[in-house]
Symmetry: C2
Subunit: 221 residues, 2 copies
Amino acid sequence: MERTVVVASGGLDSSTLLYLLKDKGHEVEALAFDYGQRHRVELERAEEISRKLGIAFQLVSIEPIGKLIAGKSSQLNLEVAVPEGHYESKSMKTTVVPNRNMIFLSIAVGRAIALGFSNVAFGAHSGDHAIYPDCRQDFSKTLAKAVELCDWKKINLISPFVQFKKWEIVLLGSTLGVPFERTWSCYKGGTRHCGRCGTCVERREAFSLAGVTDPTEYENE
Amino acid sequence: MERTVVVASGGLDSSTLLYLLKDKGHEVEALAFDYGQRHRVELERAEEISRKLGIAFQLVSIEPIGKLIAGKSSQLNLEVAVPEGHYESKSMKTTVVPNRNMIFLSIAVGRAIALGFSNVAFGAHSGDHAIYPDCRQDFSKTLAKAVELCDWKKINLISPFVQFKKWEIVLLGSTLGVPFERTWSCYKGGTRHCGRCGTCVERREAFSLAGVTDPTEYENE
């Protein structure tokens, strides 16, 4: 049986990934990271979705790392406003968290080694890389090679959505029964999706392109 | 001016690395990690050496990660005894901490990006790889390629000792004035070096091969 640690953020992508791997028969442990993010409501959602799916869930507190790398990221530095507008616009660059993927993945790989699991998975997709350097396919591929060498036993780093567009993930998720209404994307945190920040705009667009009804309640329609 | 974040453990190798980079004119920030290690006395030593050298020092608390990846590592799981004997013997494998280098380095890279520094350095040397998969040169090289891609601006991962033997580091350190008596290696922690665990055996051997007087006070001569 394949056994896989999954980096889970409570969002559309990683939740669909959990459903996909469970559907494929993997034994899955979901890891969520509390790094002091503005939108930490996502952590409750990641846990809720994992429970619903009947898989193991671990919340890892790494707030001191968040403080260390905060810099000018709007997601960690509360003095920097969350930009509104389209995901691919330049203003979105303030939402980048320095080296977030490598940090999360390296911890997930350590966990996989400790558990004796052979795989680590994450939900980067092709739309991400316009803004996030560590969502580029080249980055994933190269990091996967380093991950293969970090232990005596080979660990596989898998990112099944790296060539998907976001709407394709929504389409896949809808066939897998992902409870989209319980996933969380909004960068602003709060209790309802704002509907205007980059990730809300991207989320709405993805449902629309996929032709799947968007169950999200947005603050601004 | 080169600006470099250095992973500092208070040991011989990373302390010599701090002295080397300072000598070369780098602006240096030392990062030390409290991950719940048995030998956390090393953290005080890392701080002391950084202060002596007049460089910035950051202690990062990541104990929840230590708990997550503890498994059967003698350095994190206090129920597993620290093995005694030669560094290269099979029994030393219990001292491996899963994916430690990638975890530390990914955080150090995030820090470098936040600070606007271009380099991250660590002190892996050629003797380490007999036991530690993540001290192999292939691992460092491959990870360095991933690090180059993790941000829009290139970050260099440097490991100047990766082809050095431990005694060569001692020899270099002695010319740079490293206060060896204040560095800490012993895996057992405590207040004096035990003289018998793998890293104590390696430490003694390195001074002897380098022809440098070993200032360490060992519990067992």
